[in-house]
Symmetry: C4
């Protein structure tokens, strides 16, 4: 199967694609701070109230920081397994980045309107689609034979984990129509996905 | 002809110019998200309406993401063909970047005022000029003999493709004076430019 | 002790983590400029008054530039001492970065509301927690045996310095409840921490 | 003289300082686009008027793009000449960057209030001080013997050119008190500084 799609290495080298992707991740994660606004001209007492009411914004900030950080780590693990690259993956990677870059917007929306169905739906759609797309990217590269032989098992595991994450976010969408809060609580299922790994590692360390 | 303009390698090394250019591309593409704004203090129902009316902004976001992404890929292919660099190219590259950095502004304008001639004209002028300038940069390096011998044919093709893109965007300007929508539809001609390559590659892959 | 936590090098390589971290630092430090706003539509005289009243914002800008710059230098010195890396450090590093990225927000708050207790408390909490976390990161790597043998003494010194900085910022919090200005003046104690090193180096240079 | 200040290479390596500096330059130059704002809710006719009145903002944008781009090229030429680095240069470099990062603010001020003395004064102060500081940085490294022997002549020339630029910007400050426009026209003297080099190179190329 290898080489059935024309490799793109000659035209755009791999290291630069990764560096560009890293740059976009770093900027998107840092732009999250812009969702926290400093209100103009408040009295001291009013500022206290404003900051005390900022927990939803702060929650959205840390949630999205963890989400983008997690995507970045996964992206790196996945791209470290490739020994080749084709044009389709380059296009899929750009489409994937266009969803990552939307996260600061979706995050600000969630922070300001966490009790409104539409905000939860937008957040779950953006993050779920980014997870789905990265899962498909891995499957594409596996299908093309671009993954190192000794990493194929790990690549399949990562791809399956991303698919599970996408399903959790997509499932939260109909739930958010019943209750926006319940929709967000659905996302906690992802911790259940991560916990076995944590326990296994904790046992190894002990 | 080679070396007739003083090479700049000694003063500013090539890898850093490329890294700086990549950084500017990565930041400009990520700043596109700032064109999507979260309105303050809406009721749930009003937020739904606001989001439903956001399709033009979202269209402009994805269009500009594709445009900047495409410019970045082309820039990389072109710069990968060079074995030398002179001061004029360094200056042209900065001028080119000053147009790329304008795209987030032009994109926000197009998203908010896609039905107004002036917005379409600004967008077409910025993107068309960036395409024209990058075509001229390639021609300059070809003329100076800075392109690897075995890449000259590809460089000429890329330069011609960029020129065609510039012409499409410039031609859309008078059309936008008749109808802003027709001006934007003109840009679809660029897909016709890309389609033959897609079909050829699809046949190769099949 | 070495290797007791599974090394992460295979999955995410060290150089990229550092590059990503550098990118986040560079973006966060540059976003500080966004706290300085240009007011719309003032008359010449009113603009003069506005700029003359901008000293607190400018003070917060330079203070935070120095703070982030200092964290960056320290981070680099610390990471240059590591010969290994584990998943816990990767997670701690992301958590640490999520505090660094909050500094532009805390800085804008301090610039606009330096005379309000809450603004000083937020700033001291963010910066103090970033210092504490980086101190803990160094202790963790020391405990895991990931620090080069000949750098352990320096790593302990840096970790202790970061802990002292964290204490100074945390101590300023109760003081800010009495007087916001006194809380900020407490931070000057950090200069006392830096001065011996300056004098020693000045002597060396003389 | 060499090594009289403790070299910092061991603690923070040179390549990372340069990469961090490049990142800050790339972000600062891209943030210039944020000074161009899209007004909300205008009618088509009002948008035309708004855009037609935007020439001062566009002038400030391109001027500042050229200024930051020029500083970046000069910084690179200068740092390419160094074979060593000390803590004082690291601190000076951070201070220098804190002025570069102010340029987007000064640029927006100049674009919006180019006819007000205060805006011209702020711009000239920021840019002039950045030029002065980079000239001092080069002199410091020359004095410490950190410049490659065969680059000392070039380093002295660059340092003198930066000093001349600083003088032009500082001289424009009192002139701006008489006429803001005359203050800005003073900056054209810098072209006179660049022209001999252009003519020499044009002759070489012909």
């Amino acid at each position: 199967v290898e080489g059935s799609a024309p490799p793109v290495r000659e035209s755009v080298d791999f290291a630069r694609i990764v560096a560009f992707t890293d740059g976009v991740f770093a900027i998107a994660i840092t732009l999250l701070v812009l969702s926290l606004e400093v209100p103009p001209g408040l009295a001291g007492h009013a500022l206290n109230n404003y900051l005390e009411d900022s927990w939803p914004q702060l929650f959205a900030y840390f949630l999205s920081f963890a989400v983008i950080g997690r995507f970045w780590i996964t992206h790196h693990r996945a791209f470290g397994m490739l020994h080749d690259f084709d044009r389709r993956l380059l296009a899929l990677n750009l489409l994937y980045l266009s969803l990552i870059v939307l996260i600061p917007f979706a995050s600000e929306l969630l922070g300001d309107y966490g009790d409104v169905t539409a905000a939860v739906v937008v957040y779950a759609t953006v993050v779920g689609s980014a997870a789905l797309l990265s899962s498909l990217m891995l499957r594409h590269t596996l299908g093309q034979g671009h993954v190192h032989a000794d990493s194929r098992e790990s690549a399949r595991e990562i791809s399956a984990g991303l698919l599970r994450a996408a399903i959790v976010f997509y499932v939260s969408i109909p739930i958010a129509f019943i209750s926006p809060l319940a929709g967000q609580l659905t996302w906690l299922l992802l911790l259940a996905d991560a916990l076995p790994g944590w326990f296994r590692r904790a046992r190894q360390t002990a």
